[in-house]
């Protein structure tokens, strides 16, 4: 085969590849890139969505820097991400290990139970928990009153000091199942021979978990941690259903604040600024987390 026919074939392949990629690229361009650019332009404007937009330069970004509600909501996002890493990725990993290695018999049933909240719509979950937290006829206060801990009963979602923790509990319990699911799949792919070797060396479950299972699925740990962090920075529906970001912005996350700015206050320009800041921050945190974990892996090896 001569060189010219080979390069001809390669060119034909490239053309075919372009043809197959085109629909996806066009779709992304029309529905992701274009809106993103528009939002970027909009973030330098003041616009109520109706009247002509006005160029305001960096005014929106200056306002963002001094906006206490924005920083408060960002702080809540960080809280969501930190608890997600500990209680979704971390605990999910432990439970998955336990299901795969210790009690494989109940694995199917247990996974079924854990996954229920993942497949139910977040709106329903939020509404259900709203009733759990209801101070008068809710399950939680009802339970506390029954066991004689009346003084602990309170208006969970309406109290500044308990609203955010209450939201965090719901979030972590809701998404935990997803991470268990992912880690069960990952742990099951680990070669049995590795475990046998560990057993021969006299490793217990604690040692096996940290020295065998986790390092063997480290790339999964990285991916799921990134997933947890990114989704924590985008989280919206549970907060919106449970508290609307209240009381007095105490549980606002960036997305609910963005929604408020855009569709409550009709400040489309400022909402775009918030959205842009959110994208940049999420990307930065994602890169940071990945870098941290890559180093963690190297330390391990």
């Amino acid at each position: 085969m001569s060189i010219s026919t080979r390069s001809h074939a390669a060119r034909r392949d490239a053309r075919a590849a372009l043809l197959f990629l085109a629909p996806a690229v066009l779709f992304l361009a029309a529905f992701v890139a274009y809106p993103l650019l528009t939002a970027g332009v909009l973030s330098f404007h003041s616009w109520d969505g109706v009247s002509p937009r006005q160029w305001t330069g960096l005014a929106n970004y200056e306002r963002l820097l001094g906006d206490r509600i924005f920083w408060g909501s960002l702080r809540n996002n960080v809280l969501v991400a930190l608890t997600a890493i500990v209680f979704q990725v971390g605990v999910g990993m432990v439970i998955a290990y336990w299901l795969v290695r210790v009690v494989p018999r109940i694995k199917r049933f247990a996974m079924f139970v854990y996954v229920i909240p993942v497949v139910i719509s977040e709106i329903c979950i939020g509404l259900l928990w709203g009733f759990v937290y209801n101070p008068y006829f809710g399950l939680l206060n009802g339970f506390l009153n029954t066991v004689g801990l009346d003084e602990l009963a309170r208006g969970w979602l309406g109290d500044r000091s308990t609203a955010m923790p209450a939201v965090l509990v719901v979030m972590n319990l809701t998404y935990l199942g997803l991470y268990i699911l992912l880690f069960v799949a990952a742990f099951e792919n680990v070669d049995e021979a590795v475990y046998d070797a560990a057993a021969i060396d006299g490793a217990g479950h604690y040692r096996t978990f940290f020295s065998v299972s986790v390092p063997m699925v480290w790339s999964n740990v990285q991916a799921t941690t990134l997933l947890a962090v990114v989704s924590s920075f985008k989280t919206f529906s549970l907060v919106y259903v449970l508290t609307r970001g209240g009381p007095n912005n105490a549980t606002d996350v960036v997305s609910t604040y963005l929604f408020q700015a855009g569709f409550g206050n009709f400040e489309a320009g400022y909402a775009s600024t918030i959205g842009f800041a959110q994208i940049l921050l999420t990307a930065a945190v994602g890169v940071f987390v990945l870098g941290l974990m890559r180093r963690g892996k190297r330390g391990e090896a």
Binding site: P52, P135, Y136, G155, L157, G158, G246, N248, F266
Partner: protein
């Protein structure tokens, strides 16, 4: 085997039905062909509210019968998504011909950007303008021109559990000190005095506004809206904010009121776990599913002895209105629909269905309204000097947000009445 395939067919049919009904229901649109070249696109936000859907369907059906030559396209959405939907349509330059709109600040934004047809000329014909209650027009009138026709009027007053009051021997209060004494009594009986579910922030506004109306006077927000430079909530705003905070601090509100929806608070009220609620006339409808033995009573908001406001004024405002877009192609058809929906026949039907007050004079008949609403109209609204529209709908959207979160802060004690009144005053000034 046969059973299974029958099942499958049933499932498929069911799925198709669900999809069909989903299209016709919330967020859907229905084309109703009437032939001819005239078309009219009508948008409304009544989806998901049974009684209101019944009303708009009645209005549309009778309109189509009266105008068989006009092809009506109905687009319905649910209240919260409707705002976004209309906003987007307006921004993209594709507004519907006729649209449902909240009065006040929400409508004003569209008017300011020149999207809404002025109705003055049309209202002057055949005494149309005079057929509306005078108090209902200011909230749809900007710079001297009227841009929408008001549909219904909601008034806020104190509702109480009559049976509970009788059983405990509690007396209906007329003054604020009496109200506070009563609340203390109710609280010591182990009942929540006031059912306030403030998760959506609007329920608390009634308390602030009524206190402000009693102590300072009505018309503050209308002043801000009209661009009056001297408009102010006055030094009384601090005391008005204080009354709300007092209720919270003395434990007269439910625990965690800021995290409770108004529906949850209503459950407390209907089940006798809370004794009173300050709410709109829609409380009549919300009490329809109360347990047996529940009887709804009402009294006007208490008076403040040293207050500068008129002590019988009522917090009441237009809940919804319909407007015509400037870009509407067939303006005649659009105006015909506005005339139709505000006709005595359609309006009285609405009163019958929803037990609400309407803006059309004479349409809220005692027969259609039922004894409770008829009583409210006569005893409370009839004695009012001024109906002061709801601040939050009269405010610019951003001002509303500050107003809402500030009142939440008053309830949870994170802001002082002085700081709260200052924040609200500044937001109102900034929002025009």
């Amino acid at each position: 085997m046969r059973i299974r395939s029958a099942w499958r067919a049933a499932l498929a049919a069911g799925a198709a039905l669900v999809m069909l009904s989903a299209c016709a229901g919330a967020g859907g649109s229905t084309d109703t062909s009437g032939g001819g070249g005239r078309t009219l696109e009508i948008w409304h936000a009544y989806a998901g509210q049974k009684d209101k859907v019944e009303f708009i369907e009645y209005a549309l059906d009778t309109f189509k019968k009266a105008h068989p030559d006009i092809k009506v396209k109905e687009v319905s959405a649910e209240q919260s998504s409707y705002k976004t939907k209309l906003q987007t349509a307006m921004a993209s330059g594709n507004p519907p011909d006729v649209f449902y709109t909240l009065p006040g600040g929400y409508l004003k934004a569209f008017v300011d950007s020149g999207q809404v047809l002025g109705l003055d000329d049309e209202l002057a014909k055949q005494g149309w303008r005079d057929s509306f209650l005078e108090s209902s027009l200011p909230s749809v009138t900007f710079g001297g021109s009227t841009y929408a026709v008001p549909i219904d009027i909601d008034a806020a007053l104190v509702w109480y559990n009559k049976a509970l009051f009788q059983a405990k021997g509690w007396q209906v209060p007329t003054t604020w000190p009496e109200f506070l004494d009563l609340a203390e009594k109710i609280k010591s009986a182990g009942v929540v005095p006031v059912a306030l579910g403030n998760k959506d922030s609007w329920p608390a506004t009634f308390w602030f506004q009524y206190a402000e109306m009693r102590m300072h006077g009505s018309g503050v927000m209308s002043g801000f809206g009209a661009g009056d430079k001297n408009a102010t909530f006055g030094p009384e705003a601090k005391d008005a904010a204080g009354t709300l905070q007092t209720l919270a601090q003395k434990g007269y509100l439910p625990k965690g009121a800021n995290g409770m929806s108004d529906a949850e608070a209503n459950i407390l009220f209907l089940n006798g776990k809370a004794a009173m609620v300050l709410n709109g006339t829609w409380q009549i409808g919300m009490s329809a599913e109360a347990p047996a033995g529940f009887e709804l009573g009402y009294f006007p908001f208490p008076t403040f002895a040293a207050g500068k406001g008129n002590q019988s004024d009522v917090l009441a405002g237009v809940a919804a209105s319909f407007a015509v877009s400037k870009k509407a192609k067939d303006k005649e058809a659009a105006l015909a629909f506005l005339r139709h929906i505000t006709s005595p026949e359609v309006m009285t039907k609405y009163v019958q269905i929803r037990k609400t007050m309407v803006a059309r004079k004479g349409a809220t008949t005692p027969e259609a309204a039922g004894p409770l609403l008829a009583g409210v109209v006569q005893d409370v609204i009839g004695k009012a000097d001024t109906l002061d529209p709801f601040y939050d709908t009269a405010m610019a959207p951003k001002t509303t947000e500050t107003y809402y979160s500030t009142l939440q802060g008053l309830i949870d004690g994170s802001i002082t009445p002085a700081a709260a009144s200052e924040a609200i005053e500044n937001a109102a000034k900034a929002g025009k």
